[in-house]
Symmetry: C3
Subunit: 350 residues, 3 copies
Amino acid sequence: MQFKEIVENLKQGQSGVVDFKIQNNPVILTAASLEKAEKNEISFLDNNSPINMRNLIKTSKASALLLPANDTYIVEIAKKISVDWIILKEPKIAFAETLDFLYPSEIKSEGIHQSAIIGENVKIGVGVSIGANTYIGDNTEIGDETFIHPGVVVYKNVSIGAKNLIHANSVIHSGSKIENECVINANAVIGGEGFGFVPTSNGWKKMPQVGIVILRNKVEVGSGSTIDRPSVGETIIGEDTKIDNLVQIGHGVSTGKGCAMAAQVGIAGGAQIGDSVILAGQVGIGNKVKIGDRVIASSKTGIVSDIETGKVVSGFPAIPNKLWLRCSANFKKLPEIAKTIRKLDRKNSR
Amino acid sequence: MQFKEIVENLKQGQSGVVDFKIQNNPVILTAASLEKAEKNEISFLDNNSPINMRNLIKTSKASALLLPANDTYIVEIAKKISVDWIILKEPKIAFAETLDFLYPSEIKSEGIHQSAIIGENVKIGVGVSIGANTYIGDNTEIGDETFIHPGVVVYKNVSIGAKNLIHANSVIHSGSKIENECVINANAVIGGEGFGFVPTSNGWKKMPQVGIVILRNKVEVGSGSTIDRPSVGETIIGEDTKIDNLVQIGHGVSTGKGCAMAAQVGIAGGAQIGDSVILAGQVGIGNKVKIGDRVIASSKTGIVSDIETGKVVSGFPAIPNKLWLRCSANFKKLPEIAKTIRKLDRKNSR
Amino acid sequence: MQFKEIVENLKQGQSGVVDFKIQNNPVILTAASLEKAEKNEISFLDNNSPINMRNLIKTSKASALLLPANDTYIVEIAKKISVDWIILKEPKIAFAETLDFLYPSEIKSEGIHQSAIIGENVKIGVGVSIGANTYIGDNTEIGDETFIHPGVVVYKNVSIGAKNLIHANSVIHSGSKIENECVINANAVIGGEGFGFVPTSNGWKKMPQVGIVILRNKVEVGSGSTIDRPSVGETIIGEDTKIDNLVQIGHGVSTGKGCAMAAQVGIAGGAQIGDSVILAGQVGIGNKVKIGDRVIASSKTGIVSDIETGKVVSGFPAIPNKLWLRCSANFKKLPEIAKTIRKLDRKNSR
């Protein structure tokens, strides 16, 4: 693809083209990071990059660059370098869109593999792919253009909408509802039974888990992640919520729209998460905790009580992020602090 | 099912019926939480619920309620409301039993699916189900009424007892012994090789892992959880121990009876866990640590040395829970503490 | 196997035989720990074992012992006990080698199972095993003597070298390169798409993930672990690096040679890990962090900024291990510290 075509394509996108220079109009074969890019490759510099990244644009071997409009230092350099460039409001979005142009999605129907096993009374839409050795249980529905890779197991009575992408060896339990345009990555488990046991004098009494899991439109679930169904009612993942790998979502959790949960997050049963909440890696959220909209929790945060809308929290138990940073800075001075106190106490006791 | 039938059934159970009112004798179709219950649904209030939950019984649309006998406030309200109710010693157990009545377990033998692949010299009991594309290795035994879902891989020389429920795409390695009435959830891995490597001048030397994993009766293993076999000897999960999703149990661990381990717990090699131990989410236990009976560790606790019977611990490294709560309360005052010390120290130095 | 044979075999190995006593020359049937060993079993005592372990050699029922040369106390006892023994520089390596003798690896080709599904243009080497219901995508290469267990899904365009061992139900995505002598354990996912989403006014814009994952020679990946591919470029796991269960490796991570990562470690996107780095259980490493060679992080450490070569770190945020130990010791005195300060402050204010 010629650089000129990328410029034209980006003008139609969401990245806000501000200016561009088409001088060499190189052929762009692929994309790479600034450090690794070679001739005929395009790269980008994100808004607010650190200085060592910004200086890389002087030495990068990329044949074309996507650059931030809000960075006057970079805009000045751009005028002097010989490679072609585009200056944009959102260079990272431009990079994502450019990858879409260079690598158009290859999802085209492969039909139903002859080794797939389809139960009774299954409704299959138009353009559906079902991979080798995949099992589809009775009374399940699969919407148009959904693509299911090999080795997937879908239990009975599952509702899967249109344009979903379900990767190999994932498992979807009975009663689950997957709306449209979701991605379920390999070895994820949707709708396994919630962990509910009541202590009795004869050991654990199992709480039956007869609820279901619902994934709204555009939800993505990472490899190996698990989303449990509740004893009654629903576990709901809101529209456009993105879940990374090895995340655990307990029974009866609900999340709002547009959340992002990084790898190894764990959310205990009944927690209620608002819209646009961001949870960094290894965060834990306790039973029935309520998290307001737009809350951000930094990595390894442990949240055991409700958090108000818009707060940024850290630590365990979670406290405001700025306070936590100051507390952590003092934590590493604790031996010194303790020493000073002993000294003062001794003097004082004399 | 009529409410009256539920009363009669609960009288036979473990929940301790103290009193009941059959006035409308509604048909009960399903169960729900107090907030979400509608007409023809039954709900419950647990012992020691918070006040906002307790007040819900005044407004709940449920047609019948299971209520705690030890709560005089609730018992008084019960006398005034128009819905039918049962007052019990253990309303949560009653709710679990009621779900059992409303949703009788559907596990009936489906036989051996024609696509299942059964190795040589496999002994299969009466009423066993083996799902589509499941693989059973040579010399394996499967006891009566065990139900194996599609896509499961059982290696050679595995012993599986009676009435086990093994979910889709889980993997059971050679030599494992699963006793009776266990549940292995989807994508769990039983008996993978322990993580044992010895440093040498030529890199890592692998410690062969020729031991086995044993799951005693009534063990449950969550989706995506992994239980490793040791180099020699056994990894043992004690009777009635319940393990949630994405839990890691290292090589040579042993647990006692009736433990519960919440999601994302990690137990390192050789740890010895007593009976009735409760580990909350994301707890970590170090190599060869010994944990006494009835120990409780709150979420994210890191245990690196032995814990005595009956202790409740928190934090990392683990300390008594009550002490940890006080320490954590002071942690967030550290900036203030440090400031006061600087002030005192300055004054003192004058 | 007779004890004498074990002595002869160990002389050829890496464990450094210093002395031995062949008196009874027992038949050795298997190996066990000192506590559990019985007649006709061999056991070992590691260098620098705690005293309670060392005293076990007086009472162990093992018929033969592998003992540490650097332990004069043990060497003295050895002279007095009746069992046969070998004294070595590295008894743990000797134990691993002895297990290799007693349990020679059973990996012999089983050929391609008739239920395996092989795509178009797949190149399969000599002595390859492909298990039941395994799926191999188009244009994939599989080198000599690689053993793939049942239920594995290999996408298109994957390169798998020689002598790899790939366990049941694992998934390898398109473009991945597995070199030689790697082990991929059950339900692991290699090359799933990285977690990359850019916020826009219309919700999350997905960053296409068109990079690949490379596993160098002798890499091992634990059960249920996930290694993501990046948007551009490679995620690389260096030679002889060993990864335990349920570990998450983000997009674009690179690790050096000979690292070891214990269970539930999480490494965020773009982190660069040096050679011989050791990460204990549940460690987290942040985005783009650089970790020098031979760094050791103790369990649950959270690393959010670069760590220099050779450092031993702990805590969150990570600080030098020795400092962290002192800080943690003071953390549990915080209530007392706070009390003393209040007292001093009161006196001071008078």
